[in-house]
């Protein structure tokens, strides 16, 4: 498990680009295609911004990210906050569903994560926080 990486950073939108860049650096080790790299960055971007916006209500708080390869070409990414949590996970994951009262959020964050990664699992408890675990198999050269 030498390739495991644990990251802790403040859950504010200013850190969204950094979260993506770290994910890109990690996944690059497996020689992904440009498209796969973009997909991973996008999924991480969604999960991280959800933690900052919904989990911590834009007031900040610690976000933990964990990266691991479960096999040579399969990456697992876990993004965790200790924010407000989600009442109804199944509903939250529905396309277009958002609790945002403004007109800024599309309700498509989870849908993007689901479509760009192979598997996604959401663990959450109201008042305790949320953990999003995503898995993606990469089409590395070795895999051909």
């Amino acid at each position: 498990m030498g390739k495991e990486l644990k990251v802790q950073l403040e859950g504010i939108l200013e850190n969204q680009g950094l979260a993506r860049a770290i994910a890109a650096a990690y996944v690059s080790q497996a020689d992904p295609t440009v498209e796969e790299l973009t997909e991973v960055k996008t999924a991480v971007s969604e999960a991280f911004s959800n933690a900052a916006i919904h989990g911590y209500g834009m007031k900040g708080g610690t976000v933990n990210m964990e990266f691991a390869f479960t096999s040579k070409d399969t990456v697992m990414i876990k993004i965790m906050d200790k924010g407000v949590g989600i009442e109804n996970i199944a509903m939250a994951m529905e396309p277009l569903y958002t609790t945002d009262t403004g007109q800024n959020r599309s309700g498509m964050g989870f849908t993007v994560m689901e479509s760009f990664m192979d598997r996604i699992k959401v663990d959450s408890k109201p008042g305790e926080g949320t953990a999003v675990t995503m898995i993606k198999k990469l089409d590395t050269y070795y895999g051909i």
């Binding site: 939108l13 200013e14 969204q16 680009g17 993506r20 498209e35 973009t38 997909e39 960055k41 996008t42 971007s45 969604e46 911004s49 900052a52 916006i53 396309p95 277009l96 007109q103 800024n104 959020r105 599309s106 498509m108 964050g109 849908t111 993007v112 479509s115």
Partner: protein, 117 residues
């Protein structure tokens, strides 16, 4: 994210440069809205050719402008998306309400033809 505004007739072309994420989206929204007001533009074209990254924040940004403009009799178009960006916009059904063109010129031409007819 940088925005370069360009006016062709009644159309405001917003050329976005860089990464469009939830962090950038707020300021992008504001700058586009005030440009729309300033130029009293009737039509709006988003040029995504130089957008290097976009997450679902782009959906909200585009649909928000659509709602705002749609109240009047206006036109909107999107041009120059990379494949992953087109994927995201597709997931939300954006292209079923806003047309996609390859270039801003093409979009402006279509708008002009609409007005004549």
């Amino acid at each position: 994210m940088e925005i370069i505004f360009n006016v062709m007739g009644n159309t405001l072309i917003a050329e976005l440069l860089g990464e469009l994420d939830h962090h950038a989206a707020d300021s992008v929204r504001q700058r586009i809205d005030s440009a729309l007001d300033n130029y009293r533009a009737q039509n709006l074209v988003f040029d995504f050719n130089k957008v290097t990254f976009m997450d679902s924040s782009g959906i909200g940004m585009i649909l928000g402008r659509y709602r705002k403009m749609g109240e009047k009799d206006n036109n909107m178009a999107i041009v120059g998306c990379s494949k992953p960006i087109r994927n995201i916009l597709n997931m939300a059904g954006v292209f079923s309400i806003i047309d996609y063109y390859n270039t801003a010129e093409e979009a402006v031409e279509v708008f002009d033809r609409k007005e004549v007819s």
